[in-house]
């Protein structure tokens, strides 16, 4: 193991490590701690200049109630879910099919197709921006949930296909060969053999995609105009203007915006990290 396990070092070093760990954690998370503390700070504290000290009273509940009561944050949150969930389902569906197509069959140009999906995922959003905006206008889905959902499905399919294809290629191919020899149709092989085996990959992708799409700011910015359709990332910029002099409320709003992906991460941590670090442990 590298570095040397702390248990094998001197007593003094062990004590040092045990002190350094929580200290570094607090420093690292200072931004988060600050925003949590501020979300529970009263306006009078802010008015008296107590921005960073211990709040004189904790008013979490009042602040959250005020954010929900005086802004459209509830609508923004709902919009984020309305956009995120169908996008995940769509991208997973398309990429399971495409991933199987690329992993289970040998045909000329399959690496080229895979490369296209990967490369497309790395391009800067700006090279897509004007034509995609025009496309949604032409399709009549500009300024609607559907416009953003369709784009997210299409774009995220690139990464998801890469992921699914790698996962399926690692499965024991003998299963497929045996089923083919038995005369099982390709479609049934996909449904009855592949899909049950790729469940962990689907779980990993679903949590990853949840954070990617939830936190996306650019595409709703480009494809949505109406305030009542805005997801939370975009809504936060509205709140930033609205709560310019009450930072405690903006902090509470930011906390609300960050919470769903954070909860998703802590609940599905193993899947999330497995998805994110795909390939990091290979030689």
């Amino acid at each position: 193991m590298f570095p040397r396990p702390i248990q094998e070092t001197t007593r003094a070093r062990q004590v040092m490590y045990k002190v350094a760990l929580p200290v570094s954690l607090v420093v690292w998370l200072l931004p988060m701690i600050a925003i949590i503390a501020t979300a529970g700070r009263s306006l009078s504290d802010l008015n008296y200049g107590n921005y960073w000290g211990i709040p004189t009273e904790w008013v979490f509940f009042e602040n959250f109630a005020a954010v929900f009561g005086s802004s459209s944050i509830g609508v923004y949150l709902l919009n984020s879910f309305i956009i995120t969930i169908p996008s995940i389902i769509g991208a997973l569906f398309l990429s399971t099919l495409a991933g199987a197509g690329l992993a289970l069959y040998r045909f000329r140009g399959r690496f080229f197709l895979l490369a296209l999906f990967i490369a497309g995922n790395f391009v800067p959003f700006q090279i897509l921006m004007i034509p995609v905006r025009q496309l949604t206008l032409d399709l009549g889905v500009y300024d609607s949930y559907l416009g953003v959902i369709l784009f997210q499905i299409a774009f995220q399919t690139g990464f998801c296909t890469f992921f699914m294809r790698n996962f399926i290629a690692e499965l024991p191919f003998e299963l497929v060969e045996a089923a083919r020899a038995e005369g099982v149709s390709e479609w049934k092989i996909l449904i009855h053999i592949i899909v049950p085996l790729v469940r962990p990959a689907l779980a990993a992708l679903a949590v990853l995609q949840f954070t990617f799409i939830w936190n996306d700011f650019f595409w709703p910015l480009i494809l949505i105009q109406s305030d009542e359709l805005r997801p939370i990332t975009l809504g936060l910029t509205t709140l930033k203007g609205q709560f310019i002099s009450s930072f405690n409320l903006l902090a509470a709003g930011s906390l609300i915006a960050a919470l769903p992906p954070v909860m998703m991460f802590f609940a599905m941590q193993k899947h999330f990290i497995a998805g994110l670090t795909l390939g990091a442990s290979k030689g």
Binding site: F2, L25, L29, I35, Y51, L128, A258, S281
Partner: protein
């Protein structure tokens, strides 16, 4: 394959072998077609369209006029373009600190002590927070009147420069905010990599007297090549894509001093209706990114050879 009963298959295989040959060609096409159609419509074709648009002058509505390389000539003489490009270089170079910091944090946390799993997750979770939230927090840290930095510096007699409204400092303030989640991302890549480092090789090297820095550079790092590669790719792409933080922290200001190509492109298209010019900025950014995309694909291609 050999373990499964083959008897009933024998007959089926003979009668349908003709169809199967075609099936193995047609099925993948059918499986890939829906994904490919969506991806072509929303990603591949728009890239081609954008490149085409970069040779035109267009207000977003009305006719497009072909202007050849005019937009690119204008870019060449546009000071804001050069500032943005330079800022992208700063982003790129300074963002490379993320893999370095990430490696050191991972080495620090790669222990088995009580509660370490929770500590690792807490170190990682800035990555899960939206960049918009990160931008809001850091902008507030930097505030010269009541921000945390000002509050800490004031009692010791230091004056807090107004980072985000200072032409020389703004970009660096934003990059620092970006480094926070990016380091977390690299850390998790390295933690995963460290997990699969061969302990026997480490022990053998230790027996040979290698330790500390030498052991890290000569023995451990080569085994972390895969993690390093992915960390570099995601960091470089992240640096060139920087948009959210710029949009929420400075909107490119003051006087475009913190602009980057991605935001300058958006600014030209959305606020000034210069679609052709904006497309030429996007094309330049796309070409720069292609260097890294090709690098990634070539490496992938080398790994693919020899697999089924």
């Amino acid at each position: 394959m050999a373990d499964l009963p083959m008897m009933p298959a024998q007959r089926t295989r003979m009668t349908t072998s003709f169809f199967r040959k075609h099936k193995l060609l047609l099925m993948p096409l059918a499986f890939i077609a829906p994904a490919f159609a969506m991806f072509s419509l929303f990603v591949i074709y728009p890239i081609i369209q954008s490149i085409g648009l970069s040779f035109t002058q267009w207000q977003g509505i009305g006719p497009k006029t072909w202007v050849g390389l005019n937009n690119y000539r204008m870019l060449f003489n546009d000071a804001v373009f050069w500032t943005s490009l330079m800022n992208n270089v700063y982003w790129l170079v300074l963002f490379l600190l993320a893999p370095v910091f990430g490696l050191f944090v991972a080495l620090f946390l790669n222990q088995t002590v009580f509660g370490i799993r929770l500590v690792k997750s807490l170190f990682f979770f800035p990555f899960v927070v939206s960049q918009i939230v990160v931008g809001i927090i850091f902008a507030w840290f930097y505030d010269p009147a009541f921000g945390l930095l000002a509050t800490v510096l004031e009692p010791i007699g230091l004056d807090m420069p107004p980072i985000l409204s200072d032409e020389t400092l703004a970009t660096f303030g934003i990059i620092l905010a970006g480094l926070w989640p990016q380091t977390a991302y690299c850390m998790i890549l390295y933690l995963t990599g460290l997990n699969s480092v061969n302990p026997e090789v480490i022990e053998a090297a230790r027996l040979d007297g290698a330790k500390g820095w030498q052991l890290l550079v000569k023995i451990v790092l080569p085994q972390l090549r895969a993690a390093t590669f992915i960390a570099l790719v995601v960091t470089i792409i992240g640096a060139l894509r920087s948009f959210d933080l710029v949009a929420v922290m400075t909107e490119g200001g003051p006087y475009n001093s913190s602009n980057v190509l991605a935001y300058y492109m958006y600014d030209n298209a959305i606020f000034r209706y210069r679609m052709g010019y904006a497309s030429s900025i996007a094309t330049v950014l796309f070409l720069i990114m292609n260097v890294y995309i090709v690098w990634f694909l070539m490496r992938l291609w080398n790994n693919e050879k020899g697999t089924r």
